[in-house]
């Protein structure tokens, strides 16, 4: 091949099935003997359950069974585990209350599962679920993080509703730096609670096979192996070898499909009890009260500067709302993935962050696109922009004075950045966003009755969480490697098996580009398989923008093994020394000669080993690899947002958004741009339209897509985006990850632009017309 596949805009292999309606999502799977589950959910935020009357439902048409928490307890079904143990400031483990799949005597949030009905049809299951009468004794509820400590206790083991108080950084050094600061900028933030809202609702369909006592679970999941591990080892006590988990086409995740959910456990368990396939598919209203939510921080943050505008220290205090139970990775989000990012792109010498994580009568909170890093970026970039305004400095100049410019750079909050070039992305963003022309545009807007503002955000994120042993020392209860397998077929085509999962990211294309390029094959000769524990040796799945940096590297390592073995085979076939064999563009060559064997010929020899060194080498050409990263990767970028605010109504429109990101090496720019567009839109959604609201009693006010406003096409502009490449230093592809960047950087850029337009110091997210109007009129 003459042109490289790396960096090429290759159209996606997966598109045809999605465009013709032939994708297969979990709810599209219909199994033999299919039955359907419907869950009875708590209408109360906090209540004790006095009685559950199920008799009427049990005898309703089509009903196969009704189960409650008592049935699960009798069957010794365990609670859902939390995957990260945080150790608090006193060296004590976090409080880990039980998280039963079906309520045990008490409910702690609206939407908690109280019973399940399984029937022949979905309509019958739902009809019967409505016949179940639950006698609740309502209890006082607490919903806001700020009030949790003094609110009614949710769990016996945490009377003050505190899961942990955790801290990172040198408090004494920070206090000393603040004491000598020339200027301190202080802001109070609420990082609004969000509902991920992947457009495909969660679904789980479990089948039991009595003949070999095995289970197959189809589930809308981002990481089927982790789902299987957690479910078998911690909840159902089953051998992993008896459980196959398939995550087929998955319609978006954004974090919400990482976790093991109670519904998945219940349908799997029930499939054996009934010896039937049991399917549950969430409707959107259920999703709002049962999918893990995101964000929900209350923060006070301060930045100390010297007289030259150099950052001296940052002090951050955050209360993080974890909801009613510990979701799978909830505990590490407001700690490990938050406080460690507070250095941002700057040489702030001392940083101290204290996080109080609390239980409330709300849906559990866990990772949502960005997961801790958007919250950190919001703190840093709102502080920096506000400090610039207070000091009457150009926000660009203030950032430049404090940029980290030498690498590797050890931050005061544990991370060591391997590489970066923050000026490169900022400089490009200023040009592409035509910041020089902003004043003129502001005048034009004013003439049309609109206030125009410009805001920046320069974010950094840490992707591909690792190494496993370091994460383990910080409380991770899982490995953070990835696995891959290269199966070369006798005719020289290749199937790639990856433990990463694609639910929109286009792995079937990007990973094939990597493999085809390295082997010198055509794209049509490479197939990528993911999402099935029976096919893939192991996997940690997709989250934290890790797929290419970690999963891609595992594949490259397996490829290296394939080529190494191929060289041995070729040496035999060509009667040459192994050391003289070179592999180039699909050909094994004897260096300095015209003797060569194609990849296909070598593959064929491996599977038809007639002329083959059987005494020294096993037949076959099939290699796998596990890769555990040596460090995080550190994507970074610079965003410039311009907004227009209607002076009469407060309605705010993002009129221009420029994003220049450094994701390291890029395999498929078309796919990367798509990831950025989507991330930016979710970030703009957080800033402008999205807000998960509870009333004081714990009733969800924004429980449908009519009330919770995810951005529509008219809410966002065409984005101006570009990339700069500073290759990651510690993986062979030089890649960093791109999935979350937009959601991390956008909220701060938008809010910096709105506060600029209005001339106010702060404004709560989301900046709805009402909030903006109020800010304009309470100055």
């Amino acid at each position: 091949m003459s042109t490289s596949l790396i960096g090429a805009r290759v159209a996606r292999k997966e598109d045809y099935r999605f465009l013709t309606g032939t994708g297969q999502y979990t709810d599209d799977v219909a199994l033999a003997g299919q039955s359907h589950a419907a869950f009875v959910r708590s209408p109360h935020a906090h209540a004790t359950i006095r009685k559950i009357a199920i008799e009427k439902a049990k005898s309703a048409p089509g009903v196969l069974a009704v189960y409650t928490g008592a049935d699960l307890a009798a069957a010794k079904v365990g609670g859902l585990p939390c995957g990260w143990l945080i150790t608090d400031v006193k060296g004590q483990p976090m409080k880990e209350p039980p998280y039963p799949p079906l309520a045990q005597g008490k409910v702690r949030h609206v939407g908690e599962r109280v019973a399940v009905v399984i029937a022949e049809t979905q309509a019958q299951a739902r009809d019967a679920a409505e016949m179940i009468e639950v006698d609740y004794q309502p209890l006082p509820a607490v919903v806001s993080a700020a009030k949790a400590k003094n609110g009614p206790a949710l769990h016996e083991i945490a009377p003050d509703n505190t899961c942990y108080v955790w801290a990172l950084g040198d408090k004494a050094a920070v206090d000393a730096a603040f004491a000598k600061a020339a200027h301190v900028t202080k802001l109070d933030f609420i990082n609004n609670r969000l509902v991920p809202n992947a457009i495909e609702p969660r679904s789980a369909n479990a089948m039991y096979t009595r003949a070999d006592d095995s289970y197959t679970l189809y589930v809308a999941s981002q990481n089927p192996h982790v789902e299987r591990l957690l479910m078998t080892a911690f909840v159902l006590g089953l051998p992993e070898s008896k459980v196959r988990v398939v995550a087929p086409d998955v319609g978006g995740g954004f974090g919400s499909k990482i976790y093991l959910y109670p519904e998945d456990v219940v349908v799997t368990w029930a499939s054996k009890r009934l010896n039937r396939a049991v399917k549950w598919t969430s409707d959107r209203s259920e999703a709002f009260v049962s999918d893990a939510h995101g964000r929900d921080h209350v923060t006070t943050a301060e930045l100390a500067l010297d007289k030259n505008g150099k950052f001296l220290a940052m002090r951050v205090g955050t209360t993080a709302n974890l909801g009613a139970y510990l979701s799978t990775f909830s505990s590490c989000i407001p700690t490990i993935l938050y406080a460690t990012l507070l250095a941002g792109q700057y040489k702030t010498p001392a940083i101290y962050c204290e996080v109080t994580a609390v239980f409330t009568n709300t849906v559990p909170v866990d990772a949502y696109r960005g997961a801790g890093r958007p919250e950190a970026t919001y703190v840093v970039e709102r502080l920096v922009e506000t400090a610039a305004r207070e000091l009457k400095l150009d926000p660009v100049e203030l950032r430049r004075r404090n940029f980290i410019t030498e690498f590797p750079y050890q931050t005061p909050v544990a991370l060591c950045y391997d590489t970066g070039n923050y000026e490169a992305t900022l400089g490009a963003a200023l040009k592409i966003g035509d910041v020089a022309g902003f004043k003129e545009r502001r005048e034009q807007s004013l003439r049309r009755g609109k206030l125009r503002g410009l805001g920046y955000a320069c974010y950094i994120e840490a992707c591909g969480i690792a190494p496993s042993n370091v994460a383990g020392s910080l409380g991770a209860r899982a490995g953070l490697f990835e696995a891959g397998e290269i199966r070369v077929h006798p005719t020289g085509t290749v199937t790639v098996f990856t433990g990463s999962h694609s639910h929109g990211q286009g792995h079937e294309t990007t990973f094939a580009q990597v493999v085809a390029e390295r082997l010198g094959l055509g794209m049509e000769q490479v197939e990528v398989v993911h999402g099935d524990t029976s096919k893939i040796l192991f996997g940690m799945g997709t989250y934290g923008s890790r797929s290419l940096a970690v999963g891609g590297t595992a594949i490259v390592k397996a490829l290296d093994k394939v080529i190494a073995k191929g060289k041995k085979i070729a040496a035999h076939l060509l009667e040459a020394s192994e050391g003289d064999i070179e592999y180039e563009r699909g050909l094994f060559k004897v260096a300095g000669t015209d003797k060569q064997k194609s990849f296909g010929e070598v593959a064929f020899a491996a599977y038809v080993p007639h002329n083959y060194p059987l005494d020294k080498l096993e037949p076959g050409l099939n290699e796998n690899a596990f890769y555990d990263p040596t460090n995080f990767t550190f994507p970074a970028g610079s965003y410039v947002c311009e907004v227009e605010v209607d002076r009469e109504t407060g309605a705010t429109q993002v009129v221009s958004f420029t994003a220049v990101d450094d994701f390291g090496k890029i395999i498929n720019p078309m796919i990367v741009e798509g990831q950025v567009h989507g991330g930016l839109t979710q970030g703009i959604g957080q800033a402008l339209t999205e807000n998960c609201m509870y009333d004081a009693d714990g009733q969800l006010l924004s429980g449908t897509l009519s009330d919770y406003a995810i951005p529509r096409a008219t809410d966002v502009p065409l984005f101006k985006i570009d990339t700069r490449e500073t290759a990651c230093t510690h993986n062979p592809l030089g890649v960093k990850g791109c999935g979350e960047a937009g959601a991390i950087g956008a909220p701060a850029a938008v809010m910096n632009a709105i506060t600029d337009a209005l001339g106010v110091k702060d404004l709560p997210m989301p900046a709805t017309a009402q909030n903006v109007w109020r800010a304009m009129h309470t100055r």
Partner: protein
Amino acid sequence: MSVRVSMKVNGKPVSAEVEERTLLVTFIRENLRLTGTHVGCDTAQCGACTVHMNGKAIKSCSIVAMQAEGAEILTIEGVAHADGTLHPMQAAFKENHGLQCGFCTPGMVMNALDFAKSHPSPSEQEVRESLEGNLCRCTGYHNIVKSIMAGARAMAATK
């Protein structure tokens, strides 16, 4: 109470006994097993269930199957040519990376096909407004807008 419904779906006559309350989308997905039409919400907001009824884009979650009695229904499965070649609008989505997870995609394409009939060369703003009833969480709409603009022009060119 059950009732017999009959209609033409993707050019083929179909008929089934369904409960009166059966939604058109449920009929399409469960009775006909045409699972390309998706359900993404329960408040007629997301548009993933969009199909054509007698040539007009409708949300199949918002009517019961009985209301489509005798109608001509087109679902995403009936859009590509018989030999499997993509329709110009589908091809435009592929070419412009107008889809990621693919879940909203059938609804987007079905809505765009109807829109393009009356907008052979739409502006960006017209396309954005046409997507009022379709939600996508992956693409930020950027490439969907480009896809529909390109697809509409391609459709007009092949008329």
